[in-house]
């Protein structure tokens, strides 16, 4: 199944006359790790939700190769900016997703727990987890069932440096193994470390889209310069 190129064609999205995304045209040819950057409220999370089919837009605005978003949603997963976990233990949250993805493999949940190094919180109810721990569980949930596309909305914003490094390694690993990752981040050094391609949004408009090396070499407007300098 070939989901490339991803084409966004004249995407406009507004809520109650508030324009949130405006005239977005975009083609992602290659299966690389794409960063979505931009200031608060620029529309990053909204764009991810649209690409994941959680916000409906006219069917031809987003095409994944020959597929529409609803056709390939089943092969996508998302880490939300504010992790959403069910009121049960870490283990049971992972088991829930595993079951919903119809995975019957034995010890699958255990493997995910091992991979994400979250054994010590596996028996704790999600409601008692710390912010960073919730993020870890949400990331663990997102890789269940080997999705082809993972949307990660600031997945490491609350993680400690060492664990952030572990997660970055996992993300890079996934990407190298052909999983398409869209990742939003305000962390410039992280963007430098793992990004391959970057989309920059400003107030709902796409103002930059190119590979990462070029992004860090190019001359930019003040807005982007500030983002890079203070990020």
């Amino acid at each position: 199944m070939n989901i490339f190129p991803l084409k966004i064609n004249n995407l406009n999205y507004s809520v109650n006359e508030n324009t949130i995304l405006k005239d977005i045209h975009l083609t992602c040819e290659k299966n690389t790790l794409t960063i979505i950057a931009g200031n608060n409220g620029s529309g990053k999370s909204t764009l991810l939700k649209i690409l994941h089919g959680l916000i409906k837009v006219p069917i031809n605005t987003v095409r994944w190769g020959d597929y529409s978003t609803s056709n390939i949603k089943i092969n996508q997963s998302m880490v939300f900016q504010t992790p959403i976990l069910l009121n049960r233990t870490t283990y049971d949250n992972l088991a829930y997703v595993t079951k919903k993805k119809n995975i019957t493999e034995k010890f699958y949940v255990e493997k995910i727990i091992e991979k994400l190094n979250i054994k010590i919180i596996s028996d704790i109810n999600a409601k008692y987890l710390s912010g960073g721990e919730r993020q870890k569980v949400a990331i663990a949930m997102s890789i269940i069932g080997s999705p082809k596309v993972i949307f990660m909305d600031e997945p490491t914003s609350q993680l400690d440096p060492a664990y952030k490094n572990e997660i970055e390694n996992i993300i890079v690993d996934l990407s190298n193994n052909g999983v398409k990752i869209f990742l939003t981040s305000h962390d410039i050094s992280q963007i430098r470390r793992i990004g391959k391609e970057i989309i920059f949004l400003d107030k709902g408009k796409l103002i930059y889209h190119d590979c990462i090396e070029k992004f860090f070499k190019d001359k930019h407007c003040d807005l982007v310069n500030n983002y890079i300098n203070y990020g």
Binding site: K49, H52, G53, L54, K73, I74, Q76, S77, M78, F80, I84, L86, N87, Y96, V97, K100, K101
Partner: protein
């Protein structure tokens, strides 16, 4: 005077007086049957409504909320006109039977359970909507998850329904007729015994009703703590 009444009442309860036992037994049977029927219809229905963000949904919620405020006597009257000999359901021949009382209590609490269920599921759905959609679940799967996540809140809803149904007197009086050894329940017995001056039995039943109410309150309180 009051002391004497209470003493006799307590005696009736402790010795498990036959009349008293019979009345409590029927009350519980009627109310529990009504509760089971109402809950098994209303919880799935109330939950299902959450997925219909349209006029149908607001209409049903409006109706449910309106019916919640309907005086039980009016409901009793309505059922009476339907199931009495000349009513369209007269052929069922259920007037002045426990079946009619179950029907009355079921209809009485159904709107309450629908409305409260809808509210609980609506709140939870707001919290989990993105996750459940992201997992590409169909409505039935979502519903199962939401009901499970709301299980303690929904138990509270059921207990509220039970409380309402067991405390009600107007409707069961009209459709049940308070027939001794047949359709006499706690609330109708209290009204009847008081009116004919046999206050001890009434007080004993009143105490039992209070006890049930206390139990429900305690249960609801501990359920709140768990959830």
């Amino acid at each position: 005077m009051l002391i004497n009444i209470l003493e006799t009442a307590f005696n009736l309860i402790i010795t498990l007086n036959d009349d008293l036992f019979e009345i409590i037994n029927l009350s519980l049977k009627v109310t529990l049957s009504a509760l089971i029927i109402a809950v098994s219809i209303s919880i799935p229905f109330g939950a299902f409504l959450v997925f219909y963000k349209n006029k149908f949904q607001s209409f049903i919620v409006l109706i449910a909320n309106t019916l919640m405020g309907m005086p039980p006597v009016v409901l009793g009257l309505l059922i009476y006109t339907l199931v009495s000999k000349k009513g369209i359901f007269g052929f069922l021949d259920i007037l002045y039977t426990p079946t009619a009382m179950i029907l009355a209590q079921t209809l009485l609490i159904t709107p309450i359970v629908i409305s409260l269920t809808y509210e609980e599921i609506y709140k939870k759905n707001k919290e989990y909507d993105l996750l459940l959609n992201s997992l590409n679940l169909n409505n039935f799967s979502k519903l199962k998850t939401l009901i499970y996540e709301c299980r303690y809140a929904l138990l509270t809803v059921a207990l509220t329904g039970f409380g309402r149904a067991s405390a009600e007197v107007g409707a069961v009086m009209i459709v049940g007729g308070n027939i001794n050894h047949f359709t006499r329940v706690m609330t109708t017995a209290i009204a009847f015994e008081t009116s004919r001056g046999s206050i001890e039995l009434a007080v004993a039943l009143g105490l039992i009703l209070l006890l049930i109410s206390l139990l429900i309150t305690l249960l609801i309180k501990s359920l709140r703590k768990i959830s």
